[in-house]
Symmetry: D2
C-alpha cells in the first residue's frame, strides 16, 4: 500500500483526483491539504463525499509535517504557488515523488515559462528533472522519474493526435492550427461574474488566440512545429473538442495515416481511434482520448479531431496514470471502468 | 460468479445498469438483449463503451434461449412489454430470479394497475410473488424473493423520507403533498419534440398532477395515506428533488423527528440524513438518498426534502442493490464509490 | 415626452429595464446611474447595447443633480441602498414619481420589514405613501400614486392566481402552500461560487422555506391568509413556475373557479388563463402571467399553476407597466409584442 | 401597408419570422401557411402567441388562393419543397416578390446545387433571377430584385468578415479555414434522438467538415477562394461563433485591415466592428454581425471572429431586412431594438 499526499484538494482538479484515489486499491491517502478549508471535514464542505470519504483537510503547514512519510505527492495548485510548495517538499523529503498538475514544471526552458507566465521561476535548475507526463509518448521515462509535470488539458488534446504525424513527417510542421472548444470546468472553481450560469449558458467565444500559455507547451512536444493555438469556451461542463487543421502532401493517403496511428497507438488502451468524428460526451468522466480525421484532398488538408475530458485525461486521471507508472502499479487502476452514459 | 441477463439494454436505465454491472466483481453478463439493435456491438452504437465493454446485443428470441443458464434477469423495458417477456421467462426457467424495472409488478392489486396503466394485466396471479424492491424498508423480504419489482424513481424519493414518519404516526396521514422536480433523463431516450434541447433548456412545468401512475405506488407503501403527487420537469439531466409538505401536531419536536429517522436509517448506508437542505448535485451518479427537513411551527407543517439520482437510486443502482441482496452479494458492490463532483 | 432617470442600471433588473425603455415611444432617458461603472459608456461594458443605446452611465452624485428635471425615477437597487437613495431623491424633488424595485417599500408595517430584512427602516412614515405595484389588482390606486413599490418576482407569481380565489372565499385561507421554481437570473449578477455554470447546471434545491422575505409580502396581499412559501432554484435563466396547493370545499366546482377568474381577469391583457398547465418558456421575455389549475376532488385540493418571467412581469416590465399607468401612457407601451419563441 | 404571405410558419425560422413581422409597422400578414397545422390557431399550438398574434394557419392550397393578393411571400421551407412551391407561386402571381430562406435558389450554377443537395433542380432557368440576400454586400441589387435567396446562417457569419479582405486582396484566397460553432436551433424543430436535451447538453462535435452544403455557398461569394468550412454543434440554443484562419502577407498591418473594414462597413448599421473578441450572447436575438480579428505575426496568420444569431441575421431578421429593401421600407424596421441582455 503506497502512501499519498495531496496539496490543493478543493479545486476541480483536486476534487476529481481525490474521488478517483478513493477507489484506488493500492494506495492510501495520508493527507489532503487545503489552506482555505484546513481542519474541516471534506464531506462537510462538499456534501457529496459523505459516506464515501471520511477525511479531514489539513493546512499546508500540517501537510509538510507528513511529507516525510509519503511515497508520492500530488500538487493540484495554481502556478507559482505550486513551485513554492514543491521547493519546500523537495527539501523535506528528498525521495518523495511528485506529480505536479500546474504549469510550473512543464517547460525545460525557464525563459519560455517566464515569458508566458509572467513571473520568475524559482526552481530553474530542477526543470530538467521533471518529465512531461504524457504516458502514451513518454511512458518509459515517466516510470523512472521522480518528478512529473502533468500536461495541460488543451496540450493533451492536441499533442496526442499530432505527435505521430509530426514525428513521422506525415504532415508539414508549418501551418498547424488547433481550434479547441472547452467546457467551463476548465475555468476553475472561483468567483467570477463571467462564468456565472446566467452569463455562460448561451455563450461561445474565443480567447487568447495565439498567446495562450498552452501554445508553447504544445509546440515543445511537437518538435517545435509552427502551431497556432486558438482556445474557445462553450457552455458545457466537461470536455475538450479539438479540431486541428494541417497541410497535407498529396502523396499521403488514408492508409498511411491509419498505419501511422496504428504504429503508435494500437496498443494504447486510453487512445481510441474512431472511424467517425468523435463527440465529447463519449469521453466524459473517462481517461480516454478519442481521435479521428478527415482528409480534404481538394484543399490538401488533413483535419484531426480529438476529444478528452479536461478534468480526467486533461488533469486528474492522467495524473493518476502517471502515479501508477511511477509507483509500478497497474496503469489503469482506478481510472478505467468509470463510465456513465449520461 | 453469478450469471446475469438483461432485457432492454439500450434505454437510459438499461445503459446505466450495464455500465454498473460492468464494474461488478461477482457477476458476469451472459446476455444483453435489445430488439432495436440486435446483433450489433454495444460499442458501435454507444461509442462510449469501446474498450470498456465488449458485448454484442442479442434479439429477445436469442436471449430466451439463454434464460435457462442465468441466475438473474433484469427487465429494463416499457410497461406491458415487461410483463409479456416476464411471462415467457417464467415459463422457460422456473428458478431464474427477476428484477423488473417497469411498473408492471409494483402493485399487489391488479385493479389499480389496470386503472392507472390503462391496460389488462396478464399475470394477475403472480403479482403477490413480486416484492417491492426498496431495500431500506423491505430488505429481509427482498433477500428471500425470487421476483422483485424495482420501485419507480419518484416513489423512491417520496417513500424513503415519509415511511418512518407515517409508520410511527409522527405526521398525519392526510394532506401529504409531494412536489417533485425531475431532470429530463426521466423522460427516456426516444424521439419527442418536447424534449429537444431547444425546447427544454429554459423550460419548467408540472404534469399529471394528482393523476400520475406513481401516486398510487407511493400511497401503497405509506399505509394508504392520502397523498397528492405533483411531478415537474426541470432542465437538468439527472436527479429528482422532492419537497414534501405534511401536517404536524404541535407536540412533535425536531428531537422526535430526528430520533425517528435515526431509528430507521442510522445504519442505512445509502440514506444520508442532512442538517442542511440537500442539493441534487450531491447525489448525482450515486445510490444515495439524501434527506432533511424544516419545521414550520407557525403553519404546523413539516417540510421534508429528498434528493436521488433518478437513473441510479431511482432505477439502475437500486436494481443492482436488489440483485446483490437476492444473490447474497455485498449490498454495496458496484454501486458505491462512483463519485464525480461534476 | 416624459423624462426618466434610473438608479441601479447594471444589475439584471436594471439592464432589462433600460432595454425596454429604449423601445418606449413616449419617454426619454435623462440619466442612468451606476456607481460601479460611472462615466463609462453602457455599450463599452455591455457590448450588446452598441448601436442600440448610446448612453454614458453617471455616478449617483451626478444623477442627484438631474433629479429635479425628470418626471419619474426607477430604483433598481439592493434593499437598504434603495431607501437611502429614495430619501435623498424625495428631498431633491418633491414632485418626482418613483418606482422602486427593491423590497424597501413593499410593506405598510415597518416591523415586518425590519424583522425579515434585518435592518432599520429609515422612512417609516412614508411607507403608507407607497402603493404596491400590481396593476391587475391595484390599477386605479397606482394611477394616482406618486410612489410605487414594484412587487417581488415570487409574490407576483403567487398573488395573481390566488387573489381572486381568496377574496371571493373560494378557497380556504388556511393551508396554502406555494412551491415556486425559479431560474438563476433571480440570484442577480454578482460573484458567487454557488451560481457558477459548473455548480448550477445540474442542480436543483429548496432554500429559505417558510422564512423567505417574500412570504410576508405574499400574505399581505391575500388578506393575511396562512401561507407557506417554499422557493427553489432550478437550472434555467429566466422564469418562475409556481405550483400552489389550496384546500377546496366540496361545493366548489370548476365552473365557479372559471367564473371567478373571468370576473377578475377577463379584461386583463397580461393575464392569460390557460386550459392546459402552462410552461415557463411560453412567458419568457414577456409581461404575461399564465395561469391554470387542476381540481383534485379525492384530496379536496385545488392546485394552481402560474408562470411569469422573473425579470419581466417579476421586475422590469411590471415596473414599466406601473410607470405607464402613473404617467398616463398606454399601459402596454414597450412591454408587449416582444416575443421570441426561443 | 404591404401585404405578406408566409409558407412554412411553424419551424424555428418561420416562428422567428412571424414574431418579428408582428411588430412591423408597415406590413400586414395576409396568410401564414402550415400543412402540418392547417386550420389551427397559431396560439393554440404555440401558446406563446396568445394575446400577441391572433392568426389561423392555412393549408398550402388555401394559401395559393391568396397569393394573387399579396406583395411578397416568404418561403421558410425545407429545400426541394421550397422550389416546388416557388414554381407554383410564380405561376399564380407573376408580380409577387419572394424571399426564399431555403438553399434552393442560392446558387447561380444549378450543377453545384445538384451535387451538394443531391437532387434535381426544377427551376434552373430562374436561378439567375434570384439575388443573394446579403444586404451589406448586395444592397442595391436586392432593392431592385423580385426574387431573393436568403443566405444560409453559416455563410452569413463567414462571408461578412471575409468579403472586404478577399475583395481588396488583403488576405490570400488560399488556405482559408472557417471553424464555426453553432447552437442547436440550427438543427431545426423535428424529432431526432441526437438533439434531445439529455444527449446534447454536454456534447460538442464537428460534422460534415469540408463537405457541408454551405461550403460552396461561401466560396461563391468570395471570388471562388479556396476555403475549408468546418461546422460544429455546441450546447447552446442560438448563435454562431465563427473563427476564421487566413494567410497574411507580412506587409499587411492592423491599420490596413481597419481601413478596409471601415471602407466597407463604417456605415453599416448591422455590422459592429469590435476591438475585443465578440461573444455570442452579445448578438443574441439581434440582426447584428459582430466582427473582430487578431493578427498572429509569428505564424503570418490573420484570425477573424464573427458572431451572429443563426435564427436572426442567419435567417429571419435578415429575410425581413431583405423584404424591407425590396418593398422600400426603412431597412431596420422591426429588426432593431429587440435587445434582451439575457
Amino acid at each position: 500500500m503506497k502512501k499519498i499526499g495531496i496539496f490543493g484538494t478543493t479545486g476541480y482538479a483536486g476534487l476529481q483526483l481525490i474521488s478517483l484515489l478513493n477507489r484506488h486499491q493500492s494506495i492510501e491517502i495520508t493527507f489532503a491539504a487545503s489552506n482555505r478549508y484546513a481542519n474541516e471535514k471534506l464531506s462537510s464542505i462538499y456534501r457529496q463525499f459523505k459516506g464515501e470519504l471520511d477525511l479531514t483537510l489539513v493546512s499546508t503547514e500540517k501537510a509538510y509535517a507528513q511529507v516525510s512519510s509519503v511515497d508520492l505527492v500530488f500538487l493540484a495548485l495554481p502556478h507559482t504557488i505550486s513551485m513554492t510548495i514543491a521547493k519546500k517538499i523537495m527539501t523535506l523529503n528528498k525521495d518523495v515523488k511528485i506529480v505536479d498538475l500546474s504549469g510550473d514544471f512543464r517547460f525545460n526552458d525557464y525563459k519560455i515559462y517566464e515569458e508566458y507566465y509572467d513571473t520568475k521561476h524559482i526552481l530553474k535548475d530542477f526543470l530538467k528533472k521533471y518529465t512531461y507526463g504524457l504516458p502514451e509518448i513518454y511512458r518509459e521515462k515517466i516510470k523512472k522519474s521522480q518528478y512529473v509535470a502533468n500536461p495541460g488539458c488543451y496540450p493533451t488534446s492536441a499533442i496526442l493526435p499530432l505527435y505521430p504525424l509530426v514525428k513521422e513527417n506525415i504532415i508539414s510542421k508549418s501551418h498547424i492550427i488547433i481550434d479547441s472548444k472547452s467546457g467551463l470546468s476548465g475555468t476553475g472553481r472561483k468567483e467570477n461574474i463571467n462564468f456565472l450560469f446566467t452569463e455562460s449558458v448561451n455563450n461561445v467565444y474565443a480567447y487568447n488566440t495565439g498567446s495562450h500559455r498552452h501554445q508553447p507547451e504544445i509546440k515543445d512536444h511537437l518538435y517545435n512545429a509552427d502551431i497556432l493555438f486558438s482556445p474557445h469556451i462553450v457552455p458545457s461542463v466537461r470536455g475538450i473538442f479539438s479540431t486541428i487543421y494541417c497541410q497535407l502532401e498529396e502523396s499521403i493517403t488514408a492508409d498511411i495515416i491509419n498505419a501511422t496511428f496504428k504504429k503508435y497507438y494500437e496498443e494504447e488502451f486510453f487512445i481510441r481511434l474512431d472511424t467517425n468524428i468523435p463527440k465529447v460526451n463519449q469521453v466524459q468522466r473517462t481517461n480516454y482520448c478519442d481521435i479521428s480525421y478527415t482528409i480534404d484532398s481538394k484543399n490538401k488538408k488533413l483535419i484531426l479531431y480529438s476529444c478528452i475530458d479536461n478534468l480526467m485525461k486533461g488533469a486528474a486521471s492522467q495524473a493518476i496514470q502517471n502515479m501508477n507508472l511511477m509507483l509500478g502499479i497497474n496503469e489503469k487502476e482506478s481510472i478505467d471502468n468509470n463510465l456513465f452514459y449520461l
